[in-house]
Subunit: 311 residues, 2 copies
DNA sequence: GGAAACCATAGGGATAACCTAGGGTTGTGG
DNA sequence: CCACAACCCTAGGTTATCCCTATGGTTTCC
């Protein structure tokens, strides 16, 4: 089998017209280069140099081989350069998982952060929902993610909470906002809730379900939609009220439901954002970068949870 | 140092998403592939696969590397193929068909051209006449040939005209050369004509037959010989006149018939030289070389016909 | 919970890479 | 014409690499 080392020796020999000179250039002893050339000739089945008196002379086959050999070594060089630049984030792709409402806090801004620091990279923020993201994590398609917890089945995953965000009650009816909303009023409310497809796993709904179950009531929703924006718009039109993270409310209400407002729950309820990755994994620099930037973004909007504290 | 073997293992692993499957494809034991990948990761300084439960998952750096690795291996493949086809010039035999008067233009010189470039090669210039050559082409005994056209039955053959040569009237009698020779004088002349055996297919004779038939006369020849040299010698001795391609006349008259001269026909008549090979065939480098050299030789003597032009 | 799939590690044998030392051949200079 | 210098080749030994089998640790799936 042909090897890069043989091609390197071949080119050096071709250019110098001498095994000794080639060996000197490459930092080997002359017999080593000689052996490489012989091996190459053997594996190709053709003599590449005629051994004449002083020095060696390339055959026509060597003439043919030379540009190809150069192309091979150039391709190898390109490959190494590409990897090195990807390693240092000059090029390449950075992939990060991000679920649900987290994208409202850190989506576009996070991508902007990465691109401003590493203009050459491609950024992929993937994941429609926490189940998807967990599956991607387990299969190794993504290395780390920022998701909302509590979430189902986190066995085998390291979950590091980084921020919490208060869940607030939003409504277009000012009378609904005069005082904090407790379980009883929540149970009677007509609600529009997002994340229909993933309703069983949605973290906000889990919090609400628990709040209601603790007081023996059943949750009900009048409208089911997929995305938070639609829910907020419906609230703005007065069709229903909703419960969403405060950060989302502050961001979306002015834009999508200018007449609506918000009020806290009683007791206050929280959504938790956490960094998640496979247990025991050593994170790549890219993953660490994304975690750092995403955490920063989210903590600017939601309440930070410091590594030692628990909430 | 990075090696081709590592890249091969890398690609197999990337495609299968599994070291075991890659090892099986490559015919190695699994730890061997594992070792190659580890070596590659070490020499690049970057993990290429995340070891994840069942199988391995490429990192984004691996995504970056893959097309480059493919390019490298493709370049190696090209190099080997190039060498293998060039090898035939060193040790093999180059066989080329060449008919009739074409050998006067390109015979010995053509062989010399090949041998000066490829000293180790054997050269066979074969073919006594166009019928022979066509048969050899059809049977695959020769790959390509340079022949004189028009010729019979060229179905299944690609015919590429490369040059034309004027047919001139040669004579040892100066009075015969005072003006261009038309059909009437040609019909009355005592001629010596070569290529007796193949007289029906000989291109020069075909041209003359047509010229005479158009004016309602019959061709006649006084002497029939096999080769042009003998015909020219007889012309030199004054036994007869002849009609041969101008290139042959310029080459043979001074040597074989110093007292003879030549004059054009009226209207001017031409022999056509063409490269012929099986229709749709992919020509070997050896055949392409011979075509190139033969074309060059002939075009130095006869009028070139460029690919686009027709006359 | 156990079997199956898969990767990592360990250890050993074959091969290849590389070195130093010395011999043979071809130009070159006295 | 002879000696020297420049090269390449061969020989033999050491070290590193390649590749194997055997085995242990995880994860996945039934």
């Amino acid at each position: 089998m042909l090897s890069l080392h043989q091609l390197t020796c071949f080119l050096a020999t071709y250019e110098h017209g001498s095994l000794t000179a080639a060996a000197e250039e490459l930092g080997y002893a002359q017999p080593s280069v000689s052996e490489q050339i012989r091996g190459l000739e053997k594996s190709l089945g053709v003599p590449l140099f005629r051994r004449v008196g002083r020095g060696v002379v390339p055959t026509t086959v060597a003439d043919t081989l030379r540009p190809h050999a150069e192309r091979v070594l150039a391709a190898v060089d390109d490959a190494q350069r590409a990897v090195q630049s990807a390693k240092s984030f000059e090029t390449g792709t950075i992939r990060f998982g991000m679920f649900g409402t987290a994208r409202l806090y850190a989506g576009a801004g996070l991508v902007a952060d990465v691109l401003s620091r590493y203009p050459g990279v491609r950024v992929e923020l993937i994941g429609q929902n926490s189940t998807d993201v967990q599956e991607d994590l387990r299969r190794g398609r993504i290395e780390a993610a920022m998701i909302a917890v509590p979430t189902v089945g986190s066995e085998g995953l390291d979950v590091t909470p980084v921020a919490r965000d208060e869940l607030v009650y939003i409504s277009a009816d000012p009378t609904h906002l005069e005082s904090p909303v407790g379980a009883s009023r929540l149970a009677q409310a007509a609600l529009v809730m997002p994340e229909t497809t993933w309703r069983a796993d949605d973290s906000t709904r889990k919090v609400l379900r628990q709040m209601l179950l603790e007081t023996g009531r059943n949750p009900q929703t009048r409208i089911e939609v997929e995305d938070v924006e639609t829910a907020v718009e419906l609230v703005g039109m007065g069709y229903a009220d909703s419960v969403i993270p405060k950060g989302a409310a502050l961001q979306l209400l002015p834009r999508l439901a200018p007449k609506a407002g918000w009020v806290s729950m009683r007791p206050r309820q929280y959504d938790m954002f956490a960094v998640v990755h496979r247990a025991g994994a050593t994170l790549s620099p890219a993953a660490r970068l994304m975690i750092e930037l995403a955490t920063k973004r989210i903590q600017e909007i939601a309440d930070p949870i410091r590594p030692r504290g628990s909430g």
